[in-house]
Amino acid sequence: MAVPILKQGDVLIASIQSALTDVDLVALRDALVERVASHRTRGVIVDVTSLDVVDSFASRTLRDLAHMIRLRGARTVIVGIQPDVAFAMVQLGLTLEDIPTALDLEEGLAFLSAGRHAR
């Protein structure tokens, strides 16, 4: 299932609507890395509120996505990690390392615009 990617100003917002397969996750990563350039994007928000599970593959793909986008000159924020998903990630020993996270879309947008002023 393709994840819709919306553009708001110079931010791309990928709002995951349902459980994603590994194939879907990789497609999302590739689409975002591609679109960062074509849309003159400064920031990317990945909303994972509807993601049922973040396992080792999902956490790695999210990390790769953020690192690739950083190399493309933009910043990524992961928003909407649910309490049960956070619990499971910690129990499994999974982390997103240095990728910024925020509670929800609104916080994510605030984070990105705060970073822009600081630049």
Binding site: A19, L20, T21, D22, V23, D24, D52, V53, V54, D55, S56, F57, S59, R60, P83, D84, V85, F87, A88, M89, Q91, L92, G93, L94
Partner: protein, 134 residues
């Protein structure tokens, strides 16, 4: 896919990425039906996702059995007839991967399981994990 979550038994053929998602969702439903908390059911779903992915990635096809054993524990058996795991000891070390992955799959499952067993040889691999309701 056969089985009925209300009978606490699921049997699922795993051959593709979609099967992984369906299996983990059904496993979560079963865990909830057994009385697992939402957090622990998510943990079970993540473990199923890891085991099912390994089947697709390394063996191409296999099967999952998920159910409730006689002691009331939830069990997951992941079985394939793939090439087997050459270096089992390394495969269980966090950070070890032969596929460019994170190497957190099997170690993570072992970490959250109350019992964990893996048998692997040239005829295939069977992983069995059990988790107690808390």
């Amino acid at each position: 896919m056969r089985g009925d979550e209300n009978n606490f038994r699921i049997s699922a053929a795993i051959t593709c990425a979609e099967d992984v998602v369906v299996a983990r969702q059904r496993g979560r439903t079963l865990a909830r039906a057994m009385g697992f908390s939402a957090s622990d059911a998510t943990l079970v779903a993540a473990a199923i996702s890891e085991l099912a992915r390994n089947i697709v990635k390394y063996a191409g096809r296999g099967e999952l059995l998920i159910g409730k054993d006689d002691d009331g524990m939830l069990f997951v058996v992941a079985r394939d007839q793939g090439p087997g795991i050459a270096d089992l000891e390394s495969a269980m070390q966090p950070g070890y991967s032969t596929s460019g992955g994170l190497g957190m799959g099997l170690p993570g499952v072992k970490r959250i399981a109350d019992s964990f067993e893996i048998v692997s040889n040239s005829r295939g691999t069977t992983v069995t994990m059990r988790k107690r309701k808390r």
